[in-house]
Amino acid sequence: MKITVKQIFPGILIIISLFFIYEGIVNIGFWDGDNGPKGGFYPTIIAVVLLIGSIVSLMQSLKEDKAEFFRDDFKVIFAGAAIIAGAMLIGLLPSIAIYLIIWMKVIEKMSWKSTLIFAGATTIIVYLVFGVWLAIQFPMGLLENFL
């Protein structure tokens, strides 16, 4: 039998719930005889519910069809990760502008003219709404050291 994400996801949740139960009981504390519930009380109870739910979901998933992923979906995930990495290096706004250019040119295969108009307009609107109107200070990444 092939293990798919439908089994991996509840599997990870089982590990997370076991961790929460262990931390809740052993390190944070579950119950104090005089003062009642401690910080670990509530998360431990909920983690037990999560554990039971995840085990049942795991068993139910064996009867379900395989989860359907589309290869193109990962392009958005990769782009998101690249923007975050880019923001640390060259700042958020420049990495968004570069993302828009690469996306429209490489993925959507738009003409250079349309790509530049789209990327330029979107970046300017983002700057005006968030940078000017909402007065958000965008991170400049490592560029800040040189400017």
Binding site: V5, K6, F9, P10, L13, I16, S17, F20, E23, G24, I28, W31, N35, G36, P37, G39, G40, F41, Y42, P43, I46, A47, V49, L50, G53, V56, S57, Q60, S61, A67, F69, F70, D72, D73, K75, V76, I77, A79, G80, A81, I83, I84, A87, L92, I96, Y99, L100, W103, M104, F118, T122, V126, V129, F130, W133, L134, I136, Q137, F138, P139
Partner: protein
């Protein structure tokens, strides 16, 4: 009479230049995002949440209310013009809205939907004005035991029982609570599950999490439809959209009936706008319509649109008076209200009346403004609805990233959004609903505080939930809900 005086004071708060401007902006953006097929009100409100940071708390909350309400209006547009419901409640709108548009009256169908939404919403708000404070007075009798059992009931009815799989809804709810536990113990302030990380110590920030969970996850899933082209071969003009007196006479009775019914449905936890639309339409079947329902009848379209907007307005009563949202979108709204220092619950009406009545008055304002904006936007709808998905993907990705950054002023928010988006995407693929997770995150802290206090009172005995009369009532309702849902699922399975 006291309620009307408070409402008039609320209008004094709401009717300032800045507040009207914020409500109009909320109405325009809410309607535009609601109209775009595939985004939906949950992601729409989450994506637009960072825009409220510009304003002071009262104005921000007024804008949030307008955003939420206008999203409900916008959901009907794609249902009527291209037979694709913008959100859950608009599913019923397609039944008569699309056939009416196909009969050559698309503009009139849009105006019927908007007018019925306005009437339904207005009825809902009038009832909210009177029932909200009464519900809050009832809530004042609630101690930790009653509040904890009410929270269990709310999370159960909205979380597990509404979706296709009870177990997946339960897992989603529990995961949401677990995420909300990261940071500091809400009762003692002691760090827990933070791994000594200074960012995690402050907990998982709500706005980036919601933007990721419902916005970024959605944009990842949009890739498979990115080459889909929406064909819309029709022209809309304001003149052709006008309703005749006969049209208005046909829409008014069902709109009033569904408005009243939808409001009471909206007050029930778990029975949101979708149920309001469904019930309004089902009741209309028992009344006479000029044309058969399902063939483009004005009565059918008006009944479901009025029902869903009335339910959206009615849901504000438990949300404000008890802190119980009726849906995922309501949970995002509640999270937004809490972010602005408003703690919905029984004390809200007495401790923060300016805020509360300002918000209720702003809903009246938003209802009227949204109708105006909706009428003005009709000629441009064809252009809005045919925006290709391949353009929306980079735009929404950008909004997700910049919005989550602006919520925390740190790349930490963007990372949280990204991780939440990936988890939300996997949950979507594996059919785990995300709305219960958001609801659980919002309610978790209040639930924990009340649950722990209840256990302190009882000396650790869970029996207290069955010995206090109000709590016992909630527990009986809870058990009945679980039994009836389990029975329905068994019956549905045996039919297959």
């Amino acid at each position: 009479m006291e309620n009307i005086q408070w409402l008039l004071q609320g209008f004094q708060v709401a009717l300032t230049f800045e507040n009207i401007g914020a409500a109009t902006l909320g109405a325009i953006l809410g309607i535009l995002v609601g109209a775009m097929p595939g985004i939906g009100s949950l992601a729409g409100v989450a994506l637009l949440l960072p825009l409220t940071y510009k304003f002071d708390p009262t104005t921000a909350i007024i804008m949030l209310g307008a955003l939420y309400y206008a999203n409900m209006f916008g959901g009907a547009y794609s249902a009527i013009l291209i037979n694709i419901p913008g959100d859950g409640p608009a599913v019923m709108t397609t039944l008569d809205g699309y056939p009416m548009a196909q009969k050559g009256r698309p503009g009139a169908a849009l105006l019927v939907a908007n007018t019925a939404s306005f009437i339904g919403g207005l009825i809902g708000m009038i009832i909210l004005t009177f029932t909200g404070p009464a519900l809050a007075r009832l809530g004042l009798n609630f101690g930790p035991v009653e509040m904890a059992s009410l929270m269990i009931l709310a999370m159960t009815s909205i979380g597990w029982l509404m979706g296709d799989s009870v177990m997946k809804g339960l897992v989603s709810t529990a995961l949401g609570i677990i995420i909300a536990c990261i940071g500091m113990d809400s009762v003692t302030g002691i760090p827990r599950y933070s791994f000594g990380n200074i960012y995690l110590l402050g907990g998982i920030p709500f706005t980036p999490l919601v933007i990721g969970m419902v916005g970024f996850s959605k944009v990842i899933g949009m890739m498979k439809d990115r080459n889909a082209v929406t064909e819309l071969d029709m022209k809309l003009s304001f003149k052709e959209s006008l309703l005749s007196p006969s049209d208005f006479g046909r829409l008014l009775p069902p709109a009033i009936r569904s408005g009243i019914l939808g409001t009471f449905i909206g007050v029930l936890p778990g029975a949101g706008a979708t149920t309001g639309a469904f019930a309004g339409y089902a009741v209309q079947k028992k009344f006479k319509s000029k044309e058969p329902l399902g063939t483009g009848a004005i009565e059918g379209l008006a009944s479901c649109e009025a029902g869903n907007n009335a339910a959206a307005a009615g849901a504000f009563a438990p949300l404000l008076a008890l802190g119980i949202p009726g849906s995922g979108t309501g949970a995002v709204l509640l999270g937004g209200l809490m972010m602005w220092g408003l703690t919905p619950g029984p004390l809200l009406f007495t401790e923060q009346p300016e805020f509360t009545w300002g918000l209720i008055a702003s809903l009246f304002l938003a209802n009227g403004l949204t109708l105006l904006v909706a009428i003005c936007i009709i000629p441009f709808l064809v252009k809005i609805l045919v925006i290709p998905t391949r353009l929306m993907i980079p735009i929404i990705t950008t909004v997700c990233i910049v919005g989550s950054y602006s919520a925390t002023n740190s790349l930490y928010g963007v990372i949280i959004m990204f991780v939440a988006g990936c988890i939300g995407y996997i949950m979507n693929v594996c059919n785990y609903p995300s709305a219960p997770l958001i609801l659980a995150i919002v309610l978790s802290k209040i639930f924990e505080t009340n649950l722990r206090r209840a256990f302190i009172i009882s000396g650790g005995s869970p029996l207290i939930f069955f010995t206090e009369p109000i709590s016992l009532f909630f527990m009986v309702v809870l058990i009945l809900l679980i039994v009836l849902t389990a029975r329905k699922k068994v019956l549905d399975k045996s039919k297959i």
